[in-house]
Amino acid sequence: MAIKTSSFRSKYRAATDFMVTGLAITATILVVVPLVAIFVYLLLKGASSLNLDFFLKNPVPEGESGGGMANAIVGSGVLLGIASLIGVPIGIGAGIYLAEFGRGTKLANAVRFTADTLNGVPSIVMGLAAYSLIVIPQQHFSALSGGVALGIMMIPTVARTTEEMLLMVPNMIREAALGLGLSNWRSVLSISVKTASPGIITGCMLAFARVAGETAPLIFTALGNAFWSVNPDREIEALPLQIWVYATGPYEDQHRLAWAGALVLIVLIVLAVSLVRYVTSRGVLKGAS
């Protein structure tokens, strides 16, 4: 009697095990498949339109064929550069404050709440805010206003990730630093931040990847520019913006360029993130736990 029961139970357990493993694998596939599908689809649709001209030439007037998105690629670069200059320092600074200096204070709670709220603000509203604050007083559109909008969108992600990563630095490391007679800020910068830097950098990359594809904030700020321009004080073109304009336009040529642009956008983001990963991982010592 007892033998039979236990054999049934172990069979039941094995079956449950198999089922749950199956579910987990299915879930993984369901997540990966769309990503792969998108990428493959982009590849199919856009790769054919990729040529040297795409990367070197500016757009041609509507109706004509040929041309490229050189100015958009560079423009995105300028915008993301401005955004990073704003988002990364402020975000990391806020994160350091939240984790190291302001723990438990009312100000810290307020900052955290503000960051979370900011994160939830729709990107178009962000664009409108930059429009009112920068474009209207200046009375013209500019790359600067676009960069500012994107930069502010980066702040919450960078700040919260920095805070999380710093909180993960074991307290005994901090104590070791203080015990050596290092001042508080020195201990924070040289020890805590340095220890948490891989995670902090990941946070910056996440924020970067997110805003790299944002289109809505750029509509009323950077506006777009058919010609080559890297001047922060003037309108500037951006890849997502250009893709949107072409994709919603009537011309078949432009549609093809849009597909190519989307492919290039994703690839560039992946490349940028990988490059940063590679460069920073060279600095991490062998055998560190």
Binding site: I173, A177, L180, L285, K286
Partner: protein, 252 residues
């Protein structure tokens, strides 16, 4: 050379918790002094009052005087200064994980702006020799990270790091409790050698260790110091019954 420590009427609070009550004692220079007592008796808090580390907790408060040498550490100096004269080694080894062995040892100096490369090399070598780790790591100083060593080696690395700053006092909070017996013996031998140059205060749960290593021992109970005498006396014929009950294992 080490200096003596004189504690007068030391009281400490964490918030409303009166953790240390009326502590008075004199710790002799160039001796190792052990502090024993059951969990929660205040010995770790006491030691952290000696280098003002307890202040890192915002609800901590202290009254009374602590003189290290001729310096009143609460009134004559800032915590950062004190901590350069009074080094600390913690219960769990805590080398900086992002730094090499060399950088770990040099961190107390480098991060304080010390730049002289040649003397840094000398100081690192001397500190590692003083903590009996030099022979084991001298070929991997810059290539291995501090965290890649074994537990016992990590602890000796932390000792070297503390020594590099050239303190006069070394505080050790249960330095060997996370280590195996062989590493523990090495640390104890080390303490014996270090005594000639530093004043050492060691908190320990292991009474045999206190007996092996320290000339004087203080017994803490419920925030008070019950008895402070030569280690020999404490372990063969203590004056206070509470001390005797603790060391014979009848309670605690």
């Amino acid at each position: 050379m080490g200096v003596g420590i004189e504690v007068t009427n030391l009281n400490a609070w964490y918030g409303s918790n009166h953790t240390l009550q009326d502590i008075n004692l004199k710790i002799p220079a160039n001796h190792a002094t052990a502090l024993i007592g059951p969990s929660g008796c205040g010995k770790s808090t006491f030691v952290r009052c000696l280098n003002r580390m307890h202040e890192t907790n915002p609800i901590a408060r202290v009254t009374g005087t602590v003189r290290i040498g001729d310096m009143d550490i609460y009134n004559d100096a800032q915590p950062v200064e004190i901590r350069r004269r009074v080094g600390m080694v913690f219960q769990r080894p805590n080398p900086f994980p992002t730094m090499s062995i060399y950088d770990n040892v040099a961190s107390g100096l480098k991060l304080n702006g010390y730049k002289n490369k040649r003397s840094l090399d000398e100081i690192v070598e001397r500190s590692l020799k003083n903590s009996a780790l030099w022979d084991e790591v001298k070929d991997d100083l810059r290539s291995k990270s501090g965290a890649s060593l074994s537990g016992g080696q990590q602890q000796r690395l932390c000792i070297a790091r503390a020594l590099a700053v050239d303190p006069e006092v070394l505080l050790m909070d249960e330095p060997a409790s996370a280590l195996d017996p062989v590493s523990t013996s090495k640390i104890e031998d080390l303490i014996f050698q270090l005594k000639s140059q530093y004043t050492i205060v060691i908190v320990t749960h292991n009474m045999q260790q206190a007996a092996r290593v320290a000339e004087e021992t203080g017994f803490f109970l419920n925030g008070r110091m019950v008895e402070f005498a030569s280690t020999h006396k404490i372990f063969t014929n203590p004056s206070d019954k509470r001390t005797e009950d603790y060391i014979t294992g009848r309670f605690g």
